[in-house]
Symmetry: C2
Subunit: 226 residues, 2 copies
DNA sequence: CACATATTCTAACGATTATTAGATTGTAGG
DNA sequence: CCTACAATCTAATAATCGTTAGAATATGTG
């Protein structure tokens, strides 16, 4: 309109677009979600995302240049972490907006999740209260170090790949609720399938730690009790 | 790659990345911010963003394919609007994350804003209360149709380009607080400069309607009262 | 109908990006 | 020193994206 001095304002949007560009790649989004579970080395990130370490390094560089991640060196390893709580919240917001508006995403999600009846329909607060009362057992089926970096209150760490041989840790008489990294993660589905096959009453929730936190609910840290 | 051998999980991140890609261009972000002020025709969007209408159309097509905007035809004009409240909230979240982590953005912002002492330091709630009491006069200096689409409670519509000849509408004895489209918008700065030169006690806030709403505060709709 | 205007479509170009693979840097441990 | 390994850097490529300008489509008006 009356303004012809475009450049200073353009600079602002250009900076915000740096964040947008960082979030414009599927692989980088997957890395962000993995990092939302706690800090990880490049090697681990690459293997968990199923890509070459050199490609992971390149994507992490892009994330670092957008200041969404920070690094720490320990010996031979370099550990990446999200540069703030707000970054994982941004990931949740972005994913939720995508889910809201992209039918294709909702359809892909529905096809992936096995049975809808394994999903807990209850609200978060009441679920938390039942966990507090010991009415249900909440299990975190992610790797143990992700549990340590942050987990739901009253949850027990029971990584998926240890689940079968640690079944004795679980009470057979109480309902079990499993969770993992979030709505895109299949580990809790697998856990429910295994537990159901073994005769347990097991269901899952879609939340990961970031989604739980985004809902304004508390999160705890610390090692699993043996 | 030309081959479609993606794992089902990759499909999910790819869908979310559609939203990320849409937000990866400065021009598109500017269009989103403009659309957060209410629906607009392509022509108006192009002129307000300072770009060719054909380029605006191309960017809007990208936003439409990411389902972030929807259209409505009225005669010769096609009006674009954000496809939900969540889209403007996503814009706010993205901008805030950028502000939090990108020093370059904070520096560019500081250089753009004229005097920091023109900024209201008060909290939103107390400002709202003062506006309710009539202790201050809140003015919305955006174009009138943006005011109609949504504005802060108790705000009066006083578009920047009408401000000078409508000075009589303003009480000289009360403090004036101006706002416009948000932290990237300079209209409230210009309004404050003009009003101060005319002897009014005028300051500004950084919030636009989306930021105000993101803070959980109420927003009103409707034509300005003449 | 012809005409003006709003918008989209198309083709083309240079710029940017994703991915791959080889070479290089940095650290730990013998 | 040498070796092993994590991670980054570099170069090359194919693919995608942003921008421009001309052509086409759709609507309203005389």
């Amino acid at each position: 309109m009356w303004m012809n001095k475009r450049s200073p304002k353009d600079l602002l949007y250009e900076q915000v677009a740096r964040i947008g560009k960082a979030l414009a790649s599927p692989k980088r989004l997957e890395l962000v979600e993995l990092l939302a579970q706690g800090e990880k080395s490049v090697e681990l990130l690459a293997s968990q995302a199923g890509i070459d370490m050199r490609l992971a390094s390149a994507h992490l560089k892009a994330l670092r240049e957008a200041r969404l991640v920070e690094t720490r060196r320990d010996g031979k390893y370099i550990y990446y972490r999200l540069s703030g709580r707000d970054v994982s919240q941004l990931w949740v917001t972005l994913r939720e907006t995508a889910e809201e508006h992209l039918v294709e995403l909702r359809m892909a999600l529905e096809q992936m999740t096995a049975q809808p009846d394994t999903l807990v329909s209850e609200g978060r607060e009441s679920l938390l209260e039942k966990a507090r009362q010991g009415e249900i057992v909440m299990i975190d089926v992610r790797p143990a170090n992700e549990f340590s970096a942050g987990h739901l209150p009253f949850a027990r760490s029971l990584p998926l790949d240890e689940l079968e041989r640690r079944l004795a840790d679980l009470p057979a008489d109480r309902a079990i609720v499993a969770y993992c990294r979030g709505p895109f993660c299949l580990m809790s589905d697998q856990a429910v399938a295994l537990l159901t096959a073994k005769g347990y009453r097991a269901r899952k929730i879609l939340d990961g730690v970031s989604e739980w936190e985004a809902a304004g609910l508390p999160v705890e840290q610390g090692e699993p009790t043996a």
